[in-house]
Symmetry: C2
Subunit: 302 residues, 2 copies
């Protein structure tokens, strides 16, 4: 088989849409897809100040690389979660990635900042749930404190498909009403967007490799075998015999999301009395879990 | 492990709800579940005249056996589809089953009746789709012609879960609006019910074995590897580590079905000008596909 475009040596065979591409034309294809996704869902305007949340993994690194190449005004934020060696290695990889890409990277050290990393926090909730709360909170607060109006995350097609499938299996209609490629700005909270929404993990890994991005792929020691990982495997198995299943499932979901939207009430957000960030209760879930007495300041000095 | 109830020898270990049972108490459990399902969804009243569609497989045989044991007024209908050896063996098994149970069984021979069995029908539609149309039509017409007011089919929890999952994966909201344990009577069409709706294939196979029902389990030569079979396998895999997944998924669907119902229009049914049965067009899909010039008469003589 030869590259569909130049008949050169094949680097990757994409299953949906079915085509073989050389390195050069795969890079071109991948970046066009990201560009198209940004345009289709009206994710980022040229004048936006964009904050990208990165962990050291392939998704954040790739989305940073492409957005920078496309000329957007981007900076990165990495949160050191304080999970021993795992966090140390994540941070090292983030530093290599952002210096390779040539993008400014802010580091927030959760333990230095609050006295408690993920291991030290006491809560009845599962670690992964607490960690999610912390990451969402720090990224939003950092964006607010420093004037970023768009937050980018590296969520990909596989993440979205397995997340939607899990919510369908549980009939979590509230989540099904709110999921999607963009979450509009709401009060203080900046808009959140997912430029890799229509790209698969396989494509993203291949892109990282071909542009020379080092990626950290170790599993967090707290991570249990999540059901969404099982759903990812299942979806990949179906994808083998029926290419395009994941894409059609996610796009079909977006076309039918309105069915679930009817069910939810729009809960008016209050302001957390500790930090002033939007909250569904008097004190937001982060300030409550971390037992904070005063607002953490994430404003970058100098 | 011992039987949960009598401490006797274990015949089966049910995963959800988790319990080990001996033969006698498994039979009791199984029949109670069927009884409960019938009551919960108001499926059958004692005075109903019930027609059960049977193919020779485990589901039809088991539902017939249990309904007869519970004292309902039931008769069976088997359709000889004219698919060579496969249909011959199905018919033989049906005869053994109904004579073992002691229930009257009507046989409709599709080829004798119309000149065409499934292999002879010409259509661009897939064979499985044509066969479905034929079976639904003949069963409904037979029930109408002979005064049955309830039609029973053997659909089980695995069938329903994989069917719903497939329709979610394709976002076939029309199907998602109409699926369920009962399909109410509509015009001439009798009510259709599924008394095995909450029982798994594994439970049904074990019940067939323990009460001594012979079952035909050969695959139809026309059957392709259906996607619903892949979904059945996937759901069984998840069920292994998360018992109750299939049950919760199906029951959750029923609770949320109203979300999809809002989307469908209630298309008024016409009467087929050939046979007088309800139809969405001038001629119903069966009369059209079989190129019938006049109504087939399924009234039982004598």
């Amino acid at each position: 088989m030869k590259c569909k475009i130049c008949k050169g040596e094949v680097y990757i065979t994409i299953k949906y849409p079915k085509m073989a591409l050389c390195k050069e034309h795969f890079i071109e294809y991948f970046e066009k897809r990201v560009k198209k996704t940004i345009k289709k869902y009206e994710m980022i305007k040229p004048e936006d100040k964009v904050l990208i949340a990165i962990s050291g993994g392939k998704d954040g690194a790739v989305v940073t690389y492409v957005l920078k190449k496309l000329g957007y005004n981007v900076e990165c934020l990495h949160i050191n979660l304080g999970i021993g060696e795992f966090s140390k290695k994540s941070l090292e990889c983030v530093k290599k990635q952002t210096s390779y890409i040539g993008v400014r990277c802010h580091i927030v050290d959760l333990k230095e900042l609050t006295g408690k990393g993920i291991p030290e926090v006491k809560s009845r909730k599962p670690k992964c749930s607490i960690c999610g709360t912390a990451k969402r909170y720090i990224v939003s607060k950092f964006a607010c404190d420093n004037g970023f109006n768009v937050i980018v995350t590296g969520h990909n097609l596989d993440d979205e498909a397995s997340f939607i499938l899990n919510n369908v299996m549980n009939w979590s209609t509230g989540y099904l009403a709110r999921q999607g490629p963009i979450l509009p700005q709401k009060g203080k909270l900046p808009k959140k967007v997912k430029p890799l929404y229509e790209l698969t993990e396989e494509e993203i890994s291949s892109y990282a490799e071909v542009v020379g991005l080092e990626v950290f792929s170790e599993k967090c020691p707290f991570a249990k075998k999540a059901i969404t990982l099982e759903y990812k495997e299942m979806l990949n198995k179906i994808e083998e015999t029926r290419p395009g299943t994941k894409y059609r499932f996610v796009i079909g979901y977006l076309k039918n999301r309105h069915l679930f939207e009817k069910e939810i009430e729009d809960i008016p957000l209050m302001e957390c009395k500790i930090c002033g960030m939007p909250s569904s209760g008097e004190v937001c879930s982060f300030c409550r879990t971390w037992e904070l007495k005063e607002e953490i300041d994430l404003k970058v000095k100098g």
